[in-house]
Assembly symmetry: C2
Homo-oligomer: 304 residues x 2
Amino acid sequence: MPFELTILGSSSAIPTSEKYPTAQVLNVHERFFLIDCGEGTQIQMRRLKFKLARFNHIFISHLHGDHYFGLVGLISTLSLLGNKNDIHIYAHSEIKTLIKGQLEFMKSEMAFAIIFHPLNFKKPQILLEDEQITVTSFPVKHSIPTCGFLFEEKQKLPNIKKELIEKYQIPIKNIQVIKEGANFSTENSETIKHSDLTTPPKEPRSYAFCTDTAYYEPVINIVKNVNLLYHESTFQNNKKELAEKTMHSTAQQAATIAKKANVKKLLIGHFSNRYKKPEGFLKEAKSVFPETFLATEGKTFKIK
Amino acid sequence: MPFELTILGSSSAIPTSEKYPTAQVLNVHERFFLIDCGEGTQIQMRRLKFKLARFNHIFISHLHGDHYFGLVGLISTLSLLGNKNDIHIYAHSEIKTLIKGQLEFMKSEMAFAIIFHPLNFKKPQILLEDEQITVTSFPVKHSIPTCGFLFEEKQKLPNIKKELIEKYQIPIKNIQVIKEGANFSTENSETIKHSDLTTPPKEPRSYAFCTDTAYYEPVINIVKNVNLLYHESTFQNNKKELAEKTMHSTAQQAATIAKKANVKKLLIGHFSNRYKKPEGFLKEAKSVFPETFLATEGKTFKIK
C-alpha cells in the first residue's frame, strides 16, 4: 500500500515563473490528502495527473495567502466537475469569513457540502482517525496562528504464518484473537505460542509537515522518529536574524530539528526568492543532517 | 509606440495542465492593462516577464471564478513586493463583497489603496480617458452581468513637415495651431495651407475584448473597424444549442461578429475542454472570417 508524498509547490510568499506556492499531496493507501493549497494548486494537481475528485480532506496550515489562495479555485472546479463528495477543510476558523463571499456566490450550483474543522493553535489535536491512519495537528511558531500536521499509519496486528494455519488446523474464528496476542491450543492440547504463530507487522509509516515556523523545539517530540519530515527552510544561516524576525527557519535549523527528532529523512522547501539556487540550502542542511532532500515541484517521496 | 496584446490564459471554466484561465495584457505605449485575472495570472505574468509593479488598472469582465480568482493573489504579491501605486479595479460592484474578507486580512500591510470602479451592465461607459487612450466597457450577453472592453488610441493631430518649419521660418508658438488646422501666413503675406504644411497622423489603433457572451449583435456597432477583436469561442458549431443554453458562442458566431463589424483581425479563445485540439475552432472561424488566430498562452499580437 503506498505511503507517498508529492510536492506541488514549495515557493515562499510569492510564486515565481518556475515555483508554485506551498501545496503537497500525501497518498496513504490510495487516499489522497491535500496539504496547503496556494494559488495554482489545481493546475499542478492536473499537471501531475491527480484526480481532483479523489480529494475530500484539505489541510490548511495557516492563512497567509501563499498557503490557501488556491482553495476557492479548487472548490469551484470540483463543483464544475460535478463532484458530490463533501469536502472537509481543516484550517483556522477564520477561513470561513475570508472565503465566504466567494463560496456564497458558488453555493447554488454546488452539489456537495463544505465542512470546516477549526484547528487548535494551543495544543496537538487529532483531526481525523480511522482504521488506517491518524492525522494530528500541532502548533508551530509563526507570525500568525499556524499548525503543522502529522500523518501516522496505524500499527497493524502481527501477520499469522499461513503454513501454520494448515499445520495446526487453526479455525478461522481463532485467527483474529491470535493476531491480537493469544496463544493457540491444538486438539492434542499442545500450546503454540503467539510469537511462534506470527510474524511482526510492518512498521507503521509517518509523515510530518512543519510549515512556516521559526525554530521551535516543542515540535521535536511530536515529530520524533517519523519516516519523513518536511520542515520549512526559508533562509540560510547568513540570514538567521531575518529568519528570527519573520518567524521562519534556516536550513541549519530545519536540519537541527530533524536530527534532534531522529527522523529518517528530511525535506526542505519554502525557499526565499532572494536565493537564486537551492543548492546552498541543501549543503547547509546536509552538514547537520545528511539525509536531507529538496522539496521541489513534481518530486515524489515514497516511504517503503 | 507599442500597441500589443499578450495572452496569459484562454481556458474556459477549468484550468488544465497546459491552459490557464482567462487573462490578457494590453500594452499601450508602455502602459500595461490587465484584462481579466483567472487563477495563476501572476504566475503567467512572471513567466512572460511582465513587471507586476507596472499594472495599476485591472479590468474584470464578470464574476465567474475563471475570470477573477487570481486577483487576490496578485494584490497580495504586489503588497509583498512593496508596491505603493494605487490599484484601480473595474468590475461588478459585487466584487468588493466577494474578496472583502481576504483584502481585510492583508490591509494592514498594504501601502496602496484599491479603488473599485463599478461597471455599467446597461450601456457602454467610458472607464478611463486621458490624452492617449479611451477605455470603454460595453455589456455583452451572458448568464451573469458581463462586460466587454474597448481600448482605443486617441486620434493624434497631423504631423507638421519639419523641412517647412525651416523654409517658412514658422515660429514655435504657431506649430500647435497649425497642427490643429490653421494655415500659416509668411512674412511676405503668402498663405501656406494647413494641408500642405502637414502629413496625416497615424491611424489610431484599437482592441476590443468580447469575453464570455452568447452571439449578441449589439456589440457589432461598438467593435466596428477595430484592429483587433478577441471574441470568445467556447464551442464549435456542432454544439450550437449548448452554446446558446450556456450563453457562450461558437467559433462561427465569433467570426460572424468579426465579419459584420469589419474588424481587421480576430482572436478566438476560451475553448471548452471537450475539444482536445483547437484546430477545429480555427478552421470553422476562418471559413467565415479568414483573418482569425488562436488566442493561445504566451502569444503576442502587435498592431503596427
